[in-house]
Symmetry: C2
Subunit: 222 residues, 2 copies
């Protein structure tokens, strides 16, 4: 069956559906109505029906969605039913946190190698993966058919390493370095900028405080 | 001057402007035109003019934006000119990665404490901060006027800790646990779900592959 293109907004929401459907499966739930899923996910039922309509009409009135089927379909669309070979560049705390996160492997992301420039880290083993020096990077990528590189190194080093990764044929960079990488159009960059996330949080806390203060002033005036 | 409300979309983009403006200041640049900023940020100049118009008309034709002024204004709006006291719950690799990230402190986020349930971690010191047991959590929050808690613990433990944080008066949770927290309306939750980010990357890699294969087929047919 040919899949019709799914909007970017829906794609952004699919990982969250995927997580909740996975939890439902663990709980032994086989079918769920849009209303029950709505309550669970704190999303309106009409949003859910609209989003899941993209996968054809398998949410039947009074019958609900087949949890496992939906989970499998979303996995196919997101490509997590395929295997992706991954390396981590930067074996500091963040790199090790990623290496230790077993959930990634369950979703088809296999950590093939870790790299660092720090001699004190090179040779150590994290979850069965030895930390190597970056001089072996290019050969390793080709030998192990690596598609994805997680970049958990300081921003000053990131552009140079990104160039080497691209030249070695990497398909995607999961970028934790706090800088914008310049790569060819056919290389995917997914940014995780933690300090930007923290700034958004700060903004929301401050807005909340300002709002409360204004409400206080208003009620004092009454 | 009363600030007119800024749209959510612009707010989402502000941290990135803030980062680039900070880098420009480090490079000693005092003024920049929307065209130069556009090239640097890979955003259209008209988008930049539209976004920065929210801060009044200080982007003058042929004269450019005052980098430091814009940087300071954005800092005020995002609330990073104020001090935020922060604790980290979960002193594993991810918690330590956050604690070691000096940039946060420069933006007014002061790490007051770290907490864990693992006896092997309790008592250790990370960047001058001692790791404490969670039994001291509530008192610590009150004593140190803590507003923000970063949650870097497994998802099974997260809801219970979140309830304790809220009861102790925390204003915001920076949630790295892979679950949706249920909190009152006046508590801010900013989620960083790494496996969802990795799924979006996987989706984009697969789309790119499928697209290339289709193009190949098409060119073979011609």
């Amino acid at each position: 069956m040919e899949q019709k293109p799914i909007s970017k907004a829906v794609i952004t929401r699919l990982p969250r559906y995927y997580r909740h459907l996975g939890e439902l499966m663990e709980e032994g739930v086989e079918r769920i109505s849009s209303n029950d899923l709505s309550q669970r996910m704190h999303v309106t039922a009409s949003q859910i029906r609209q989003d899941l309509n993209n996968f054809g009409g398998f949410g039947q009135q009074g019958y609900g969605y087949n949890v496992k089927y939906l989970y499998t379909e979303i996995a196919k669309i997101m490509g997590v039913d395929r295997q992706h070979n991954l390396i981590i560049i930067g074996a500091g705390n963040l790199g090790q946190a990623i290496a230790n996160y077993a959930n990634f492997e369950r979703r088809g992301f296999i950590i093939k190698g870790m790299f660092d420039i720090n001699p004190r880290l090179i040779g150590r083993v994290v979850r069965g993966v030895e930390i190597l020096g970056v001089e072996n990077l290019e050969k390793f990528i080709v030998d192990h058919d690596v598609q994805i590189a997680a970049l958990t190194i300081p921003k000053t080093k990131a552009p140079e390493i990104a160039d080497r990764l691209v030249a070695a044929g990497i398909k995607a960079i999961w970028n934790f370095a706090h800088t914008d990488l310049v790569v060819p159009d056919d290389v995917v960059v997914e940014n995780v900028h933690l300090s930007e996330s923290l700034m958004r949080l700060s903004y929301r806390v401050c807005s909340m405080q300002d709002q409360k203060e204004q409400e206080k002033k208003r009620s004092n005036r009454l």
